[in-house]
Each structure stands twice: as C-alpha cells, then as structure tokens.
C-alpha cells in the first residue's frame, strides 16, 4: 500500500480502536470478547522488540482506557509491561515458524488479562472471581487466532520506524 508512512501508525490505532469498540465488543463467546488493543501491544513486542512493544502497549492501553469505566491508565500500565515482556522474550521471531507468534500472543494475552485483574483489584475494582478464568481462556484463544493478522497490521503500521530491516516490504 502506498501511503505516507507517518500516517500509518495513527491509521492503525484508529482502526484497531474502532474494531475493538464496535465489532469485537459485540462478538462475544461466553460473554467474553477478544482484546485487540492488548494484541497490538503483543504484536508490537513481536515485530519490533521491547522498547517499541512497550510504547505501542502504552499508546493502545491509553486509547482503550478512554473508553473504559476503569481508571485511566490501568490498561496503559498493563499493556506497557506486556509489550515489553513479549519484546524481551521474542525479538526477531517473525522470521521463525508461523506458530511462534500465535503461541506467544495466546500466552501473553492470558498474562495480560490476569495482570489487569490483579492491578484492578488493588484499586478496589471487583475483578477476581470464577469468571476471570473464562475471560483469560477466551481472550487467550481468540487473540491467538487473530495474532497473524495483528502482527502483519502492526508491522505495516511501523513501516520505516522499525529498527532493523523491515520484513514485509
């Protein structure tokens, strides 16, 4: 796609936010929806390493926080940590087997959901109960399924901003 590379990142964030708040918010399995904004953080870590993973996580978390009833900054904190963690564990795996990003996304998403519930509980939100297991499992599985798309999308959005050689261009 021929577009101004500087516009790609905002386009990606707006599209992801729209997807999350409209389509995905309605597609629910056992009352649980995929967490695409968390997946952006994970994909950032996978394609561009720890620092950019953390940055993307911070941005996507702040964005979704604007639309959540929980305190502002909660998702931002959690997504930052998840993006960073994935980056540290996984820099460069885009070149390896296709299932590595999928498994990474699944595991990282489960971690993200549990971390979110833990931090939320510390702030007095009631988040830890039996339903948390369902949420973690469904988000983990659905995010794993969406992972290849998300990785491509985030990789495209980072374009020339990425350190090292871009893989898909």
């Amino acid at each position: 796609m021929r577009s101004d590379p500087r516009l790609r990142l905002p386009i990606m964030f707006v599209a992801a936010l729209l997807l999350q708040t409209t389509v995905l918010a309605r597609i629910r399995v056992f009352g649980v929806m995929p967490d695409f904004m968390l997946l952006v953080a994970v994909a950032g870590g996978i394609t561009a390493g720890a620092t950019r993973g953390a940055t993307l996580g911070f941005a996507s978390g702040m964005l979704i926080d604007l639309f959540l009833p929980t305190p502002l900054g909660l998702s931002a904190l959690v997504f930052t940590l998840v993006g960073y963690g994935v980056g540290v564990a996984n820099t460069g795996v885009l070149r390896s087997a296709w299932y590595i990003p999928v498994l990474t996304a699944g595991a990282a998403s489960v971690t993200g959901v549990v971390l979110y519930a833990l931090v939320g509980s510390m702030l007095g939100e009631r988040m830890i109960d039996g339903h948390l297991v369902t949420i973690a499992v469904v988000v983990g599985l659905s995010n794993a399924v969406l992972a290849p798309v998300a990785v491509k999308f985030v990789d495209w959005s980072l374009g020339s901003l990425k350190t090292g050689a871009p893989i898909n261009s």
Binding site: V14, L17, L18, L19, Q20, T21, T22, V23, L24, A25, R26, I27, R28, G31, V32, M33, D35, M37, A50, T51, A54, T55, G57, F58, G61, M62, I64, L66, F67, L68, P69, T70, P71, L72, G73, L74, A76, L77, T80, L81, Y84, G87, V88, V113, Y116, A117, G120, L123, E125, R126, M127, D129, H131, I135, V139
Partner: protein, 278 residues
C-alpha cells in the same frame, strides 16, 4: 558492552512509560468523577462517536450474525414462552390497573417518587463497553439530552441499571447484573426490603439482607424500594424470585432473582431524569 547499554536504555524506557501510567492512574483515581482527566475522556468519546456509529452501521449485519450464533436453538422455545407470558401479562394488566391507581395515591401520600410519573429520555444501546470485566453498555445520548451520572435506566419490562458516566453524546450504563451493582429492593408480597446484587452476565441476581423468617415464594416480583437515600425511585420492576433456600445456621435467606429485562440483548432503553437525593 553494547548489549548492556541497549538493555539499560530499554529498561529506562519501560520504567518511564510505566511511571507515566501509574501517575495518570493515580490522578484519575483521586480526581474521581469530575477531574480534568474525566473531561479529556468525555471529549475523546464524543469525538470518536461519529466514527463509531459509522463502523457500527457498516458492521452490524456481521456482528448480528456472530452475536446470534448461539441463540438459534433458544428462539423457538423462547417464542412459546413469550406467547404464554403475553397472555399472563394481559390478564395481569387488567388486574393491575386498579391497584396501580391505588398505589400511586399511596406513594404520593408518602412522598415517594414513582418511576411511572417521571420524565424520561429514550436512547439506543450503541454497544457493549469494550471490556470483559464490567457489565456496562454505551447509549447514544448524554448530557446534551439532560442525562447525568446516577440516573436510573429502564425498559418497559423493568430496571436495566444506572448511568455511571456521561459525556455530551454518550453515556455508560452499569447493568444490574454487574457484580459491583447493588440495588435496594422490596419483595412484593411481604414488603420486606433487601439488596439485589449482580451475579455476572446471564446469571441470576442475588438478594441480600432478607432474614430466614420472611416467607418468600417462587415467582414473587421484586421491585425497587425507593427508600430514603436510595439510588432508584420506588416501584421499578427488577425481576422475579427464581429460587429460595435457607441454609441451616444462616442469618439470611439465599434468594435468586431472574431479571425482568433481557440484559444480554438490549436495544432501546429509557433514562429516567431522576437523580438520587443526597
């Protein structure tokens, strides 16, 4: 050495972002409902609303399809059940009309607000909030339509929840099925007051504070109590008693209530222009 420097830079960046998040978190947490951050949030939601509506419109067939995948089996039996209920409701309406007149007179005497006499604003449910942890919905009206935080939200069937956030053209409604929701209620037959607590999506509500001596019958209506300092006006239907038990040694009955509104498939609601008295 180079590797060491790079990882230190990474860690510095991580700490910076994490600290920023924590700072914002603290500010928002302390600022409560009317801080500067809350207005940033409201502005962002309003600015994004038209885009969301467009996307919603474009994708609604797809979302509707996915949303109803699990429901096909239920529809036939639900249809039969609804027909039966309609018949019952018609009969009840006739019996109820007279009682209603009498009750309104009594409520007026006691100075209680009755939901039927309140101004209300109709609104469409735009989406579920994009979260897995709170049971909330977003509606397409906000402070521009005189909606404010704390107002009760109902359908013709009964209580839906309470407005927890309101920007100019969007509001967030906390559903009564959310585990953080508490509603002061009264059992219709005994008049005994209690508190209804949410049990999660598709789960029945639980009633607290009903002592074991109080007789409770299955199918008994549960309505909002409207007691002093209550969060809701009196006499909004909440649901019907689904099951009741008194475990040995317990101080209160375990009562489950089936909400009278189908909170999983909400489309149109009414916001009552009523705020709790402080």
């Amino acid at each position: 050495m180079a590797v060491y420097r790079r990882s230190r830079r990474h860690r510095f960046f991580l700490v910076l972002l994490a600290l920023t998040s924590v700072t914002v978190l603290t500010l928002d947490y302390r600022g409560g409902g009317d801080g500067a951050l809350e207005s940033v949030r409201g502005t962002a939601r309003d600015a994004f609303a038209p885009l969301q509506s467009a996307a919603e419109w474009a994708f609604s067939p797809i979302a509707g399809f996915f949303g109803s995948i699990g429901d096909f089996g239920d529809l036939r039996s639900e249809n039969a059940r609804l027909r039966r209920q309609l018949d019952e409701a018609r009969a009840e309406a006739i019996r109820g009309a007279d009682a209603d007149r009498e009750r309104q007179g009594l409520l007026q005497l006691q100075g209680l607000d009755y939901a039927g006499g309140l101004d209300s604003v109709p609104a469409r449910v735009v989406s579920n909030a994009p979260t897995n942890f709170q049971l909330t919905v977003t509606i397409d009206r906000g402070t521009d339509a005189r909606i404010d935080v704390g107002m009760p939200v109902v359908t013709s069937a009964g209580l839906v929840g309470r407005v927890t956030e309101a920007s100019k053209v969007r509001s967030t409604v906390l559903l009564i099925t959310d585990p953080q929701s508490n509603v002061g209620v009264r059992l219709a037959n005994s008049g005994e007051p209690g508190v209804v607590r949410g049990g999660g999506t598709r789960n029945p509500l639980a009633v607290d504070l009903i002592t074991t001596e109080v007789p409770v019958t299955i199918g008994e209506p549960v309505v909002t109590s409207g007691l002093e300092r209550g969060l809701f006006p009196a006499q909004i239907p909440v649901g019907r008693v689904l099951s009741t038990s008194a475990p040995p040694g317990a101080l209160q009955k375990e009562i489950q209530v089936d909400p009278s509104v189908d909170l999983v498939r909400l489309e149109f609601v009414r916001v009552l222009l009523w705020t709790p008295n402080p």
